[in-house]
Amino acid sequence: MEPSPAGYFDGMRIKDRVVVVTGASSGIGRAAALALAGHDCALVLTARREGALQQVAEECTARGGQAIVVPADVTDADAVQQVARQALDRFGRIDVWINAAAVTVFGPFQDTPLQDFRRVVDVNLMGYVHGCRAALAVLREQGRGVLINVSSIVGVIAQPYTPAYGTTKFAIRALSTSLRQELWLDGARGVKVCTVLPATIDTPLFQQAANYTGREVRAMPPVYTPERVAHTIVSLVRRPRREVVVGPMGRSLVLQSKFTPGFVEKLMAFQVHRRHLSRKHPAPAGSGNLHEPAAGTGSARGGWHGGRRTALRRTATAAMLLGAAVASASRRQR
């Protein structure tokens, strides 16, 4: 990585970069790790589940990257510092730090146990704070690097029944902005802070969520693949940007919310009430993976058919565009 003249940093080649990924055992974190491994990066993988991380490490190695596993709970600041130290011990530097660890709880505000609310804030916000502190200490020292925080479009348009998650996702954007401002004021032009705002992504988050709604949590359509977010993260390493929304529906909603915020707020409430929570599958109350990690070796995808749905949407869009083009051409001929 070469800083541009006058200390400005415009991005980096990805090959051989040292990347720390939190929440690497599943979902977006896992997909990002695998995507970066495909670019021969050296990965430091962290999450609570060592077994799942080991499997991700093997997959990363198979893709041509290197990977070490450092199990940690991001709510433990010392443990996160230890992740940074191990990365430096092993690879001598940190080029990119990705905060992707996330948990959530669904439930009406009054019915959500306070300890679960607090746990979501601890993981999703304080976990990022710990990650940012550990990362920025190194990146500032190096004078360069990229810090990527995964937020959500619910960090722009909140949704009902996930006040804890929404609060943290708004806070992550604020955290990122604040850090960018401090870096700018300090003249640390080589260190970039980016925020990713995915729309609904096909990850196990929904099955593993704590749930007090009495209704099964579904991925609210349209659902996009975690690989799509990973692709965006890779692009941010190459060319850092302040905030990037992943998924056309997310971009459309974010844009619409600037012009008709009240309408979008109600639309989101209605959609979550009708489509995010099942209308026919009741669900027992439970704290999901909040306090104990989910069993198994994890996965990037959650079985919501994000890939298939994306393909269908694309085919339908292409067919509509083609139809419109044919209709337009035949009209001109007449």
Partner: protein, 467 residues
Amino acid sequence: MSGMRQHARAARLLTDFDSSVNMVRALGRFLRGRDHRAMSAGPASPLLAGALAALPHTARRDLFEAMGFLQAVPLDRVSRLDGDELAHWATRQYRGERYPAVVLGAASGAAVHLAAALRAPFLPQTLLVGARDTATDPDDPVGAMRAVAPTARRIAQRNPELAVYHMHDPAQDRPMLQNLAYLRLKRLRLGRIHERFLEQRLAPGAPIILLDCTRTWRTREVGERAYFQFGCLGGLPEEEYHHSGERVAEYLRQQGSPWRHWDPPEPDARRPEAEWGFDPALESDVAWFAERFGHPVHRITVAEPQDLSPVVADLYRWWYRRRGLPGDRLLAESYVQFDPMWALRLGAVPFWLRFNMEPAYEALRDYLHATERFRDIHVNLFSQGLWSPGVVPVDRWRALAAEQAAGAGEVLGVDEDAYPLDAGSSLRYTPAFRSLPPRHSLPPPLSIEDIDEFRAQTSTMHAVDWS
């Protein structure tokens, strides 16, 4: 919100095959001079009933399951349920100016005829709301309880006047349980809607007849005023639901279930039975209202819902004879297939059967043995969509009617080949009653004094406490 829209919304929440819903609908229509055809949910049609009953077995079973799906309320709607909407729906069924009495409390098909004789409305303590549930395994009661408990708790939390009973019976409700969770809502307070109705529509000094059924069941608390009940009054004894044996194993095998026994959650108390039991918490409000507005309270206490049937049958016979009618035709109606209008038009003595199971059969048999012989006996049977344990075959019902009738005994309005998966059953019973001779005009109502007179003559004959 307009009254019509509110009414439609409440009607959508309720379940067409619920005992209390049918009591209210039947009496509401009766008091407007109408019958209870097709459970007051649509037109009756023997032709359509025949076509439905002629469908193949699997199609009829699917039809019962589909009806369950259609009757169920989506979870997003049911969790926002407002008990006042239901109370409002019930009171709107009665459009008369002033009523000479009101029957209030536990459900009972026999009470429909008692109320009809008095020209009184019935206000139910319990109503059924079906929550859509296509995920729960009918034979996994613990899973069902856990899955539905948050919804039951939320309804109870939003409605401090109600207790919520999640009733789960994989024996007789099996087809419905494929798509629906039974939430029985018991009113613990009279509430402003019922109070206003009684204040405005009950004639001065008119009696309030409180129907108390003391039947309890093993239940488990899942939240404040929210309970889970496994099994219900039907063909199986309560004990067999909790310690199921060979009969249940055989039933589960026949139903293609992977289970061979039920393992329900450990009960923590006996509470009023979800569908038929009366929760005495309502009493204090009734007593307060009655005292404040000067209405006498008459309490009828029965140990089992079926216990009221012989009393009402004898009351009708006594009443017919006082009017100079023979009163020698018995019409045995099952579950919600009752029709107060046609019982009176035919001059028939109504005997309500709680269901089509062994206990109901025994109740009818015992009554017929104990009472003066009827010339004609007609038995109509409800179909619940499967041969659940304890269902009595048509042959036995017919034999009982034939043996006990001095003249003719028959099963009527039932497709015997299709029973108990007779998908057209509810479309057929009123036309079947209507096909019987003779015809009488509706008599003037009985008064509470008439009933006192009847009671004075028969007080030792019945297992019912009047006070």
